[in-house]
Amino acid sequence: MAHRVDHEYDYLFKIVLIGDSGVGKSNILSRFTRNEFCLESKSTIGVEFATRTVQVEGKTVKAQIWDTAGQERYRAITSAYYRGAVGALLVYDITKRQTFDNVQRWLRELRDHADSNIVLMMAGNKSDLNHLRSVSEEDGHAVAEKEGLSFLETSALEATNIEKAFQTILNEIYHIVSKKALAAQEAAASASIPGQGTTINVGDESGNTKTACCST
């Protein structure tokens, strides 16, 4: 199954997961791609990688998600992680103030290494541990607003908002990409160059998009 070459998708979007060590990035990934959660998942060394194919407005989108190490030392190959990434999910732990304070450092790292048009979302993870909360949801919203990010509180353990977080990122990326494609097409048409064939069906709003099952 794993070594099948597949081209059965319309779009391939690379998304990186970033944030401090222990905030739950790997579990967010496993919840989204395999619907699994492991309380004692191993520390990520370097990068781990998974994919899932979903439907976005009638198109098949393959999300290629890169789970990166939170610990500084294991990020030796940072620039390679960000190359080609069109989306990022910046995660902190609502029970650990420090991980929220470090959001600024992660934003700086994104500015240094990632494409400036990258679609960004912030997630306050472990919302199931409300009794241990040390970052209020309002604080999360405030920072998100200030930095111009979308924001959600999530729980990989309870599978709360994980789908929604990725779906939001993927939708936003899709809109940017299809707008660009449309603009390119219009430019091509107005220059009366024969169209190259990529038809983007913008008007197709029929049927609320349903999430497909896992890829591979």
Partner: protein
């Protein structure tokens, strides 16, 4: 996201890359006090054994092993109860039956270990084929292979006793509570003060420069203490979640305290020996140097190109799988995350015993791992190849090591 700096202790002579037998006696010295004591001990102790046989130390502290028809035991030379420890680990490691090969290798290793002076070439040769799990001998063989134990068996108990007390001293010096340190500093400050100006009515102890719990000063004892605590917590968390299924890593060991202390000291020194050959991979400042992790990953890539250019081309050119995406973990963790614990032990037997050294052997094993799944890799695209290499399938380790060994023969011919 910590600051980039090399901790001072990393620059200690402790980490010198090529250990020689003679400096092994006094290379584990961190503080000036221990340096002088161990250096003095090394000077006063003749390194070459006298030709006239000397009577061994107390009989109770000699290495003990018993060979019976069915069961082999090799005990810690110092602690007679410690075989519980190794047996526990070994049971964890391999619940499976013992093959005739294992039994013969076990007998050979026991014979080698019972010699007055262990023949390292022989030991390496036998151990490189894998150390049988049954007899609790791995802990002794690894100590020898790492150079923690000297070849002369008569020196083992004194050497271990010395190292263990040295370690105890390290702990006392390095893990001192900041309150104790500041109290000491205050005390000396007060002493000075009372000597110079004893005229005042009330003597006051001054708060030493920045030595209080809220100090943010870089060199503040308290700040250092909090940073250390954070690292210790991180280590604790990672140890527990690395093999949560194994009792050994879950924290509560049913071991006697003395055994645990000895095992901790032994592990520390063995870890230092092991890391002396790999420390550069962990220094971010060396990432782009010829000894850093990137350079080692490039060597693996080069090695693959030499042995299987078609596979190399497909992986790195056609499907654009950057070897950093999988080999970074393979190399920094010496393959421990790619295989189950028992298999990792088997691979490490070979890494530690190969005369070419752990790094060269590791690169050969990594290359063999790629070649063993070449058919799948050649049929795969970027996604499937990266998934395969990040979740390497469980394999026949003996065969893997056999293939890795073949790569050496080809290279040398």
């Amino acid at each position: 996201m910590a600051k980039e700096r090399i901790p001072d202790w990393l620059n200690s002579s402790l980490w010198s890359t090529t250990p020689s037998v003679d400096d092994r006696l006094h290379r584990f010295s961190l503080s000036p006090t221990t340096t002088t004591t161990t250096a003095a001990a090394a000077v006063s102790e003749p390194i070459v054994q006298p030709t006239v046989p000397v009577s061994p130390p107390a009989a109770a502290s000699r290495p003990q092993y018993t060979v019976t028809s069915q069961k082999y035991e090799f005990r810690d030379p110092i602690d007679k109860n410690s075989n519980n420890n190794s047996n526990d680990n070994d049971q964890n490691a391999s619940p499976s039956g013992v093959s005739p090969d294992d039994i013969s290798r076990q007998a050979q290793l026991l014979a080698e270990l019972s010699k007055k002076v262990v023949n390292f070439r022989e030991l390496r040769r036998i151990a490189s084929q894998g150390i049988p799990d049954g007899a609790g001998i791995r802990s002794t063989v690894w100590k020898l292979l790492l150079g923690y134990l000297p070849p002369d068996r008569l020196q083992w108990s004194s050497e271990l006793a010395k190292k263990r007390s040295e370690y105890k001293q390290f702990k006392e010096e390095l893990l001192m509570n900041p309150t104790e340190i500041t109290r000491k500093l205050e005390k000396s400050a007060v002493d000075d003060h009372s000597k110079s100006e004893s005229s005042g009515l009330l003597s006051r102890s001054q708060v030493t420069h920045g030595e209080h719990p809220l100090s943010l000063g870089e060199s503040s004892i308290w700040n250092q203490f909090f940073q250390d605590t954070e690292i210790i917590e991180q280590i604790d968390r990672d140890v527990k979640r690395t093999h949560p299924d194994m009792q050994f890593f879950s924290g509560d060991l049913p071991l006697a305290k003395s055994n645990q202390a000895a095992a901790e000291a032994d592990s520390f020194f063995c870890f230092v020996e092991l890391l002396s050959g790999f420390r550069d991979h962990f220094c971010k400042q060396l990432d782009n140097s010829t000894v850093g992790i990137r350079s080692t990953i490039s060597r693996l890539s080069q090695f693959l190109k030499e042995h299987d250019e078609e596979l190399w081309r497909h992986l790195e050119i056609t499907t654009k799988v950057n070897p950093q995406f999988y080999a970074f973990r393979w190399i920094t963790l010496l393959l421990t995350q790619e295989f189950n614990f028992a298999d990792s032990l088997h691979i490490w037997d070979t890494l530690l015993s190969d005369p070419e050294g752990p790094l060269e052997t590791l690169l050969r094993v990594c290359c063999a791992m790629l070649i063993l799944v070449r058919r799948r890799l050649l049929a795969g695209d970027f996604t499937s190849n990266l998934k395969l290499l990040q979740n390497y399938p469980s394999s026949n380790i003996s065969h893997l090591l056999y293939v890795a060994n073949k790569l050496r023969s080809q290279a040398s011919n």
